[in-house]
Symmetry: C2
Subunit: 349 residues, 2 copies
Amino acid sequence: MDGYNVAVVGATGAVGTRMIQMLEESELPIKNVKYLASKRSAGKKLKFKDEDIIVEELVPDSFEGIDLALFSAGGGVSKRFAPEAVRRGAVVVDNTSAFRMEQGVPLVVPEVNEDALYEHKGLIANPNCSTIQMVVALEPLRKIYGLKKVIVTTMQAVSGAGNRAIQELHDETKAVLEGKDYEPQILPVSGDKKHYQIAFNPLAQIDVFEEDGYTHEEWKMIHETKKIMNDQDIQVTATCVRVPVAVAHSETVWFELEKSGADVEKIKKILKTAPGVVLEDDPKNQIYPQAVNAEGKKETFVGRVRADEEQANSFHLYCVSDNLLKGAAWNSVQIAERLHALGLMRVPN
Amino acid sequence: MDGYNVAVVGATGAVGTRMIQMLEESELPIKNVKYLASKRSAGKKLKFKDEDIIVEELVPDSFEGIDLALFSAGGGVSKRFAPEAVRRGAVVVDNTSAFRMEQGVPLVVPEVNEDALYEHKGLIANPNCSTIQMVVALEPLRKIYGLKKVIVTTMQAVSGAGNRAIQELHDETKAVLEGKDYEPQILPVSGDKKHYQIAFNPLAQIDVFEEDGYTHEEWKMIHETKKIMNDQDIQVTATCVRVPVAVAHSETVWFELEKSGADVEKIKKILKTAPGVVLEDDPKNQIYPQAVNAEGKKETFVGRVRADEEQANSFHLYCVSDNLLKGAAWNSVQIAERLHALGLMRVPN
């Protein structure tokens, strides 16, 4: 074969531009790329390697002849256009939450549940950013000891809310430093009623609130983890906080294992060779994961491994990963690479 | 009586200046104030209400004639000079960690364990900032339902590391926004070997590391909570993270109650009238505690109250408080007010 025709939907966004970068770095055989976006962005020029690509307006027929379509243009766009892409024979990797919890749609983190790809019917969902890095860190331990309970607090970067949120953090921080007024318009949730200052001010809201007081982001971490790990009995609970950070999410993860026998040294040894994990855990030398070090990297950085000294089989870890890469663009392209390697890059009949 | 002679040790620091402000606002009868600091700061002029007060160099005889001495000039200064103050008849409220865990030294948060003041021998310790706001939020629930376990993640403001840390956050953030280099020299821990960027970058280290991989800040939250609540059986475990925030700590607190019968509505009702607590919990209207709103206030703001939907008697809350006020200066002056009200403002024979 001479390579795939690949479409990137939402090519001009924070994740879209990283998808292009990940495709450029990928060993996936690519014949042609097509960049799709809203009418507003159509006509813009973006590179693919050395080539100039004109962004086209997304329409159903955009997917004629496309083998692989990577979507990251919001749930509404995926709901409308992903089925059109699949109908035209394109395998879709969708980075939005539109289809994640739909039965029959694989929700995949390659380090955890690559096997789920065999069941795909044309569309594979990419999980929520904050969920991905957590399951990458926990899966190698779950495999050996089982996982009973997880309590996670996230400190999430604003880039998860897109380029306009990055700009708002920048402009607002500058205004605060200069003692000037600034009217927030994006964060915490662009579509919600009120907007608050993120500069020097954590916001305990990511996505909208559910009836039970959890945010939808917290709901995603709970339910996506169970689906990815294929175990509804794992107890997961979460508090998700947006912090004044541009890129890379940091998470404190407390977890209880099913089986006894683990200790800090064993856990560190397992994580040291775990796929997609880089262990950064050397308190004596002040080595622990940091957002600024994780930015631009594909791995999940794990450190601060400690025992809960009062509860058996229970531990802490701290994980940091680039939310735009492993949390979104890289995990999507990695799924595509695995589809290719497993001979699954086709819409089944 | 015509009022107390009050000394503020470390008067020029981040906490010291707030101690002065809290004394100005206090109903404590004050006859005279004396501002003490290192030789470097001696000679500076600071206000007390409308009066100019010259900062004096701290020496043992500074405490002659002093009734009340508030210390916040580092553990070393307290270790050396607090006994000198007590010897000269001054009651000491010490905001450092020097004597907190010493047997016979009350460690007091007035909303929680005011009764411990009756046992003082001249010196009362003010707990760690991140501990104080957590126990203020949990005590009203513990009183009714008992407290079995707490898992806390803190997102702590840099002002906990003093005025130089606030300056570093400011200057470094400005440098990052302007694309300039900046060499961190204070954070995460001024006395530790390495210093890291705090601008747009959470740092999972507050205070130095212990042998078991916990930081000393985490150790303090664990052991001070048990001492303040006077119950060694409460399981407490913590991860403390420094975040790019100037003032006010934010904490995610997961807790399991001893007894059954609590629910989210009951917990909110209890917190609504709890001393020192302001309930800010209205997800439908996007109301939850925020650092920028807590700054300059004496209360602990609590919200995001939710049930752990998979574990009985277990809940989340989110609490935010001004680390320099309730976490330090206000709690110290509040202790002094209670000592006065209870007739305990004297060094026992």
